[in-house]
């Protein structure tokens, strides 16, 4: 091995400092989910009460369920549509391409409240019953753009000759897509998907305007509860979310690691 480059050493330190920054508030909220005190100001003692309460709170459970449904479905639709758009935009020329390009960016740059209010007015105008479906549609609308932007960053500068070569070698367009394009842009798609779910899971304002009776999502629930500061109950739900996503992601990484290993063995 060569001597350790100073740059590498610095990059590593920097990375861990950033992670410290990211996790500092997370540690705080996890700790406070076990606090006896109702208001987050001071530590008074350990308790699991808030977790018990959480599972007895039907409204809260309902909100979690609603958020999951909205997040999963809107992410699925937006990922497919967004990826298609990104590929289409990078590959084809068509009239009004510039216009479409700007429209694609608009959902990202529009103030959330305007998007919420405009959709609300629109739904009422076309007599669309507000409920879970109306939130999903709203989330898909902004997520298409986010997915498309991330996937396009990946596509930009991708070697076009790879696809051409596959086609020249007799691969069908579908095969070319499946074995050449898709693997190449996969990291972009995954990143876009993660971003989309995160945005949907965390959105308060647009969901607030487009939700119907009984389709309160988790951020809406939290927002209405926040009046007396973050109650430990809200911290508890965040802690559970954290734990759950960590387990999920690490299982996914594990599986991917294993398939990766078997592939290399073949």
């Amino acid at each position: 091995m060569k001597k350790i480059e100073p740059a590498r050493w610095m990059l590593g330190t920097h990375a861990w400092l950033v992670y410290l920054f990211i996790y500092a508030p997370i540690v705080v909220l996890v700790v406070f989910s076990f606090n006896q005190e109702r208001i987050n100001a001071v530590w008074t003692g350990f308790t699991l009460d808030w977790y018990v309460r959480l599972f007895q709170d039907a409204g809260m459970l309902r909100a979690i369920y609603n958020s999951l449904i909205v997040g999963l479905i809107s992410t699925a639709i937006a990922t497919v549509l967004g990826t298609m758009t990104a590929i289409g935009m990078s590959r084809y020329r068509f009239p009004l391409k510039r216009v479409f390009d700007s429209v694609l960016y608009l959902p990202i740059i529009i103030p959330e409240i305007v998007m919420g209010v405009s959709l609300l007015v629109f739904y009422v105008f076309i007599q669309f019953t507000l409920g879970t479906a109306s939130i999903i549609i709203a989330h898909v609308t902004f997520n298409i753009s986010f997915v498309a932007v991330v996937v396009r960053a990946r596509l930009a500068g991708m070697d076009p000759w790879l696809e051409q070569a596959a086609l020249d070698l007799g691969a069908t367009p579908f095969q070319t897509f499946r074995y050449i394009t898709l693997p190449l842009i996969k990291p972009g798609i995954i990143a876009g998907m993660l971003l989309a779910f995160t945005l949907s899971w965390d959105d308060f304002l647009i969901a607030f305007f487009t939700a119907g009776v009984g389709s309160t999502t988790l951020p809406m629930k939290v927002y209405s509860m926040i009046k007396f500061g973050v109650s430990p109950e809200i911290n508890a739900i965040s802690t559970i979310t954290l734990l759950f996503t960590m387990i999920l992601i690490f299982i996914a990484l594990r599986v991917e690691g294993v398939t990766h290993a078997t592939k290399t063995m073949d």
Partner: protein, 349 residues
Amino acid sequence: MKRFTALFLITVFTMSCGGTPEDESTGRLASHLNFYNWSYYIGETTISDFQDMTGVRVRYDNYSSNEEVLARLQAGVSGYDVVVPSDYMVEVMISLGLLRPLNHDNLPNIIHMDPRFMGLPFDPENRYSIPYQWGSAGIGVNTARIPDFEESWGLLWDERYSGRISMLDDMRSGLVPALKLLGYSVNTTSEQELEEALDLMIQQKPIVKAYTSDTYIDLLKSGDVWIAYGWSGDIYQVARDNPDIRFFIPQEGTYLWVDNMVIPQKAPSPYTAEVFMNYIMDPEVSAGITNATWYASPNSNATDYIRPEITGDPSIYLSDEILDRSEFLQDVGEQTRLYERIWSRLKSH
């Protein structure tokens, strides 16, 4: 994907199911009632008791500001049977034709209500609204830090407590201390008077820690803030755990608010909504809400069931003298723009 679709369809289906409709002529209630209320604004068993008594399932959703509800109703959202807007907002909603007149035959419990809170200017004959709870804004003080003080709005301008003061973050209630200190009405539409109030607010800004309508509870408790301008019930939440916190109503008078139950124009089950409103006006039920929220009840006959430490507190049940010097906030119509500008100027300073 298939599983997603199935799950999606099921959810959409269960959500759009309204259940059985009501029938006023036979007195049959709807199977569901959609109640949209402020958060933390209900007794511990208020809803479950109603469900047990009538068999109606209550879907209970929460909001945290009048304007949020208005925006939704104004856009034409239907589905809510009972909503609880504050005084001035009732006036706005009536003017915009968003509310449904009440059938008083279904509201016999109205006899329990305190006449002082009936027939208020925003709805003179209670055609649309029934009071739910009332309260006032005042000042919470950490007496461990500030043992001696005068019970005046002037405390919020005391430079000795620079960086330890919090103010309500709203263009209407936020201006109340300044207006009251100057001796003006909280509903003034005089540009001159509002300019003077703005000068006071700008002068105060350097010593204000934060403008907030919710986190002050947290800040008061943690000791970051010693003097907080806020609502009685909120500050009592802190005072219950920390005996050093005292709430008072400044002698200059304050603004009062009363939240009211109303039925939106497009409510699916207005009859069931009236049965529910009548239930809330039951003295014991009404007392149950006050015992949980520490806001005053507009129900005269509820007093016997309310904990004495609440009814005996002059900062919750205000003295007639202070009541005389206090006002309700009224919608100022076109002049809202004036308030908006004043408030934006304060925030851009």
